[in-house]
Amino acid sequence: MNQNVWTRLDVVARGLLPFALTLFLVILAMVPFQVPGLSAVVPSLGLIAVYFWVIHRPDLMPAWAVFLIGVIQDLLSGAHLGVGTMVLLLVWLAVAAQGRVFSSASFMLVWAIFVLVAAGAQLLAWLFSSMIAGFILDARPLFFQYLTTVAIYPCLAWLFVQTQRSFVR
């Protein structure tokens, strides 16, 4: 009986890991790294994490988890509430709807699709933010942020794969 409880707890903890890791990355992106110019182009770590887990373990990254991550990210970053949440949800939808495409995709293909998905996500974020602000916002910082996000994807994906192999079952 006791054994059973621990096993169950273990399963729950492993199941929560993708969500917890994503949340940690969202917070990590907030740390002041004191590198000149980095703050404006800091990659969207949350976007990478959501994309990866929805592809590889959609059961552990349901829509409500994405919603929660989005809301926390919006609240912490001081950005307009709901914008990041909406973008992450739409990314979730785009990836979840094409689940079969990814099931046998190579890493390069997944990365290539991420290049497109991230572009769409940044474009949407820019559109929503501009709409709410009431005028066209400067899109250049967003473009550089997009480049850093795409560039750092392989590093994070490697980290996630290691995590998945050793902890998530």
Partner: protein, 304 residues
């Protein structure tokens, strides 16, 4: 019995798929509602925001520490290589500053004498709170930092945030133990300032670039690159005379200011509590004037 369970499963699958689709739609609508809410009820959103930020502040403070340490080490290594040159420069500076000190003391005495003559109202008392920068959200649309001090340390909305170089921004949201400082460069930042020798009034407006723009400059005023920019104190939020930056660009398209603050190296900020008794306490005839800074005891005081 078994058969009915199987049938239930058969029916359950489409229902579940439908429920999932409905749940997703619900979440999208919720996200949209949040966007509208953020636009409509900023006070509520702000309260939720500060609560979450408060909860995350200890985590961020721990994460920011090793980064600070590494930054310090790199800086120390750089300083070691430039020790000799720095020393010579500091000696020169010291000499220059001693001259300035003499000048300042003379002016201070003169100022006091003139104040005495003109019976000018006393400058309100200022109090400083020093806080560590624990969060830099980054991103393309916002320029703000989180600091590890809040209302329990005496912070309030609107207070000026300084680094050793000059004005960095103002306090925009205050939680119990954390606060958000909106930087000068943020698109929502507007600071009344004075420019150049003529001390012409203008508004320093951020636009998410590193060099904010000057707006609403007094017509006919002549400014040129290199002119100093200081806070004007209009609006009673900031103390007057805080150093802000220098004008670097003057042309038809825009007038831009390079702030003194090094945005990449903001480890600590000082938050200035500038108590303006005349604004905090509604002065009504017949009511005894409370002592400056005694707003906390007055029931009629503005909510803080």
């Amino acid at each position: 019995m078994k058969k009915s369970a199987g049938q239930a499963l058969h029916v359950a699958a489409p229902v579940r798929a439908w429920a999932q689709r409905f749940a997703f739609l619900f979440l999208v609508v919720a996200a949209f509602a949040l966007m509208l809410l953020g636009k409509a009820d900023t006070l509520l959103v702000e309260r939720v925001r500060t609560t979450v930020t408060d909860a995350m502040a200890p985590v961020l403070a721990i994460l920011a520490r090793p980064v600070d340490t590494i930054g310090d080490m790199v800086e120390q290594a750089q300083e070691l290589t430039e020790l000799r040159a720095d020393n010579a420069e500091l000696r020169r500076d010291n000499e220059r500053l001693r001259n300035w000190q003499a000048a300042a003391q003379k002016l201070e005495a003169e100022n006091a004498a003139l104040r005495e003559l003109s019976r000018l109202t006393v400058e309100p008392g200022t109090r400083f709170v020093t806080a560590r920068v624990i969060g830099d959200p980054g991103g393309a649309f916002v320029r703000s930092v989180l600091v590890n001090a809040g209302s329990r340390d005496g912070l309030a909305k609107g207070q000026a945030a300084l680094t050793s170089d000059g004005l960095a921004g103002r306090v925009a949201e205050v939680g119990q133990r954390s606060a958000r400082v909106l930087l000068l460069t943020d698109i929502n930042s507007r600071v009344p300032i004075l420019v150049g020798k003529g001390r012409d009034r203008a508004i320093l407006a951020g636009d998410n670039t590193n060099q904010p723009r000057l707006l609403y400059l007094t017509p006919g005023s002549e400014i040129r690159p290199g002119d100093q920019v200081v806070t004007s104190g209009h609006g009673g939020v900031f103390p007057p005379g805080l150093p802000v930056g220098v004008v670097i660009q003057v042309d038809e398209t825009a007038m831009r200011v390079q702030p003194f603050v090094g945005w990449a190296h903001m480890e600590y900020v000082r938050l200035v509590d500038y108590e303006l008794p005349s604004i905090l306490l509604p002065a009504s005839p017949g009511q005894a004037q409370a002592p400056p800074g005694g707003a906390s005891g007055a029931p009629s005081g503005a909510p803080r």
